[in-house]
Symmetry: C2
Subunit: 420 residues, 2 copies
Amino acid sequence: MQRAVPVADVKSLVLSKLERAKKASLVLAQLSTNEKNAILMKMADALEKNEGEILAANALDLKSLKVPESMKDRLMLNSSRLKAIASDVRSVALLPDPIGEKEGKEMKNGLRIAKVRVPFGVIGVIYESRPNVTADVASLCIKSGNACVLRGSASALNSNRAIAKAISSAVPEGAVELIDTEDRSAVDVLMNARGYLDIIIPRGGKELISHVVGNSKVPVIETGEGNCHIFVDESADLGMAERIIINAKCQRPSVCNAAEKVLVHERIAGEFLPILGKKLKENGVELRICEKSAKILGDVKVPFILATGQDWGTEYLDLIIGIKIVGDVDEAISHINKYNTKHTEAIITKSDANAKKFVALVDAAAIMVNASTRFTDGGQFGMGAEIGISTQKMHARGPMGLRELTTYKYIVNGNGQIRS
Amino acid sequence: MQRAVPVADVKSLVLSKLERAKKASLVLAQLSTNEKNAILMKMADALEKNEGEILAANALDLKSLKVPESMKDRLMLNSSRLKAIASDVRSVALLPDPIGEKEGKEMKNGLRIAKVRVPFGVIGVIYESRPNVTADVASLCIKSGNACVLRGSASALNSNRAIAKAISSAVPEGAVELIDTEDRSAVDVLMNARGYLDIIIPRGGKELISHVVGNSKVPVIETGEGNCHIFVDESADLGMAERIIINAKCQRPSVCNAAEKVLVHERIAGEFLPILGKKLKENGVELRICEKSAKILGDVKVPFILATGQDWGTEYLDLIIGIKIVGDVDEAISHINKYNTKHTEAIITKSDANAKKFVALVDAAAIMVNASTRFTDGGQFGMGAEIGISTQKMHARGPMGLRELTTYKYIVNGNGQIRS
């Protein structure tokens, strides 16, 4: 276990790591695609070569963890999981490199103006739970030419240290820096590190994200919270609606693109809700429903709980779903815009007009028409890998791949031009 | 004059305006390019039609202002200035509309994924001084499909009110909301208006910008501070270097893309500094220089002040320039990266290798090779108009035109796809 460290020491520890990362960012910005890919291959090899040390460190973390077995599973590494992590690192090497992409033009005065894609510099990532994130984030940052400063969860401290140690043997000095103290003041130092960190990405629960969003002086990309809705319109193919809802709720209920709410058009509620309610119960889903829905499901003896006002804004991340009957697509849109988290919203409909309205007026990173909310994902969107799903509108929206980890710079070439 | 308003009333006043803007944003998001252009034309007409009222309000502002005449000139409107403002609004109608730009692909499972450019929603702009900003910002926001909530300076309150009143007669209800109270707590309400404002752009002095950057919970785009350097390399055409430095410093010293510092390669300092020093003095520029430069300029009797450590980080916005001799391009790069504000940096050189290194390693929105720093400007970059110059790396960098006032949304069309 880590001993308590005085706050002043935590600050100087974090600052020294930020300094190292900043220096490394200048080295990384100049690497060619081939050089970066070679580093990723070396990283993957190093993870596999250090299997013994990494798994021993992970066992140490698991031993001191007092949580249910299901949560331990999230943290647990074994030989095949470590191989999968290494394999993900190698996949990143195969992705196209966005750095150096260029749009150019020549102005009348002869100035040649190019807008060139460049790395951010240093990216801070604060994350919870699974130790695979350490390798994932490091590989995406290296490929996009960025240094990274990582702050994982206390419960994975030893695993993260062992993984970061293996990675460090493969990358330029300072390119991947792990803040390996449990002291929470380290997060404050990161959030105040203007001039060192170019962006901060929090990955984790609602509390972590809102803490960082509310307190960081470094620009933040907000990720992950998903109170996702599926609206079943009057004209929907009800079989399709049922399949999509069951998939979006049950296939992996703990992730941000799982559906949390169903809105049903009042004209089809009497027909659809009994079928949907029974199917959801068969899949072990708890129903929290509006009073109108309660009348319908009460008649067919499907068990439910009446929803409270709080339910509509809650991301359950569990086998629970909220159901509400709405008058039409307009009511669905305004309910969603009031309660959603700007992640993913879906409509099931045969009406082009209603789909068009829903798509135009619902405010979210991704809008699904007749498809499951679960598709909002870097891999499913063809980005290869993602560092997270942005729920803000600035810089990047939805799944963030390599390109979203970059910025641009204007390079202007002249031959003595002055402004008149 | 505005009477003092209790804080609770300020909060409800601002919130009611935010509500109206949010509703308007849904209307604006659905307008066609032609509809938006027609609104801009009506806006320009309304500004001209209300000339009497606007100039009277402006005279009232000027009367109660106790500042030097030069500052009054910034605030002063007259008939021709108002016509110029209306003409700028009409120019925005001629710019291409970024809304609706689309990149699409079809995945193997049949999902059609489109990334479509959409407005942010509601943009908050907090600005100082000149009343033309009110019309500029409103026109750029309308054209990009955004509602805006504007908070101008107290000294232009009556002018801004009259301009906003004229604009309001031409735009959809709530599309342009002016926070017309002098009460400073209004800024706090805006900075905390998550869920209402999608971004905040502060335009003004260093203090305003750092206050907003440090305290806003709404994502911020940092603009404007420019401690811009010009590095004169060993191989520079010295005549070109002199012309560029005089242009970048003297043509308009009060703007953010004016040069504030000159770094000179030590091998040419003996030849170049006496010429440059005399020319700068002829142009009324105060010199704040390093000790090595002092020896050279002392010999030729050019008056100067020795720079203090503080000078290197200061944006003068005045006829003052800092001069420092450096050993080589590497020292120039590290000095710039230590003290610059990530706005615009220039190198004057005949060496391709040094230009390449400077361009790759200097961290700034725009890098000029053999051209004046004054070119970093939306108009000069062919964007037509700009809402400000971003000095951060997230979302937008450098001059921000219409496209930089937008975000995107993924629209996914399926026929019942679920995730396996």
